[in-house]
Symmetry: C2
Subunit: 191 residues, 2 copies
DNA sequence: CTATTTCTAGAACGATCGTGCTAGGAATGA
DNA sequence: TCATTCCTAGCACGATCGTTCTAGAAATAG
């Protein structure tokens, strides 16, 4: 009985809030500016998200979904880890995603200083990728070697992405990425 | 004429402020709590640092000095890049420095979303290390290869450090680090 | 229609924010 | 000594913060 809950409304507001965060930065998220930009009142946001902490949680959860989905679905289509890593790097280094990754690292850095508040983000920001990249190496791979390689791929791609977002030296970083990807191709068959 | 400027006083306050930031996080830096923790008035901080933006700039500048100094001075003592990278990683992954590196990444993420405000940090956070690691490869190395290798070393170490600060899985990450360092040793002599 | 629940807005609360003003003690040169 | 400059503190200002309260419009079931 009564008016039914509109879940789509919350999802739309959340997506718009993430867009706002991508544009204006994670550090400057407060009810009033966000509400103003979204064309609603602060009360509306409070109604749908609860407290500000919960809104931040929702935003970074949605952001993690976005960034993971935007790059990980290419992994499944690749025959081996080297191809998968190459596909991930291609999508990761896409300039059209740079704003979203900037927000990603802003959230990441903040989460490292408030682990109890962003526990889910920290739990999944590495683990989701580990799972995906271990799977990409096939069931025949030695688990220890697969874990080692996946760890290295995640770290290198994120480190290179940090460099790219910092300096914008695409040529230099792409050169280094090629070198790394080449080692994956040569070492992929565990000899 | 008049009372001379006490530069040491500002330096001491700055160091204490960095300590506070390391402990309490970069996101929660405001005059009053910092002043209270340091046992001074907000007026004193304003007098020595000017605006809050200038204090943040001073803090992250000092932080970058600290983190760079704590790890880079080992580079000069090493005979080749592989040894240098190994020494850097050993210091970087030292648990006693984890709080400082957490702050480092918090600042880094925030800087990526406000590049004009943290321009000096972004200019130097990669460049200082590039210089140091290119030098470590000796004058005989091909410049392009040296740049490529230095880029990869910086990215990998920072990516692995991110993972370590996130998950704390020291064994897994150390294992991946060893693999990476081994490739440096085998490829170091440009054959 | 009525009853009930959701959605939205506006106003107001106390708290905290950065900053400016005022003023007095501390340390120097003349 | 006196004049000058630095250092420090207390206070107040306007702005913004997260949150709560009140109330009306919208959408459902009966």
């Amino acid at each position: 009985m009564g008016r039914p809950v509109n879940h789509q409304r919350r999802a739309d507001l959340l997506d718009a809030a993430v867009d706002y965060a991508v544009e204006h930065g994670f550090a400057e998220l407060s009810w009033r500016p966000v509400a103003s930009a979204l064309g609603v009142s602060t009360t509306t946001l409070v109604h749908h998200f609860g407290t500000k902490e919960q809104m931040l949680e929702a935003i970074l959860g949605r952001l993690r979904e976005r960034t993971f989905a935007a790059t990980s679905d290419a992994v499944g289509d690749q025959p081996d880890l080297a191809s998968a890593a190459r596909a991930v790097w291609a999508r990761t280094s896409d300039p059209r995603q740079s704003a979203e990754f900037r927000l990603f690292f802003a959230v990441y850095g903040r989460a490292l200083q408030a682990p109890q508040q962003f526990v889910e983000f920290l739990d999944r920001v590495v683990a989701d990728w580990m799972r995906s990249l271990v799977d990409a190496q096939g069931p025949g791979t030695d688990p220890a070697a697969a874990t080692r390689t996946a760890t290295l791929v995640i770290a290198t791609i994120r480190g290179l992405l940090l460099d790219l977002l910092t300096t914008g030296d695409r040529d230099r970083i792409q050169d280094a990425a090629e070198t790394f990807l080449a080692t994956l191709e040569h070492d992929a068959p565990p000899r």
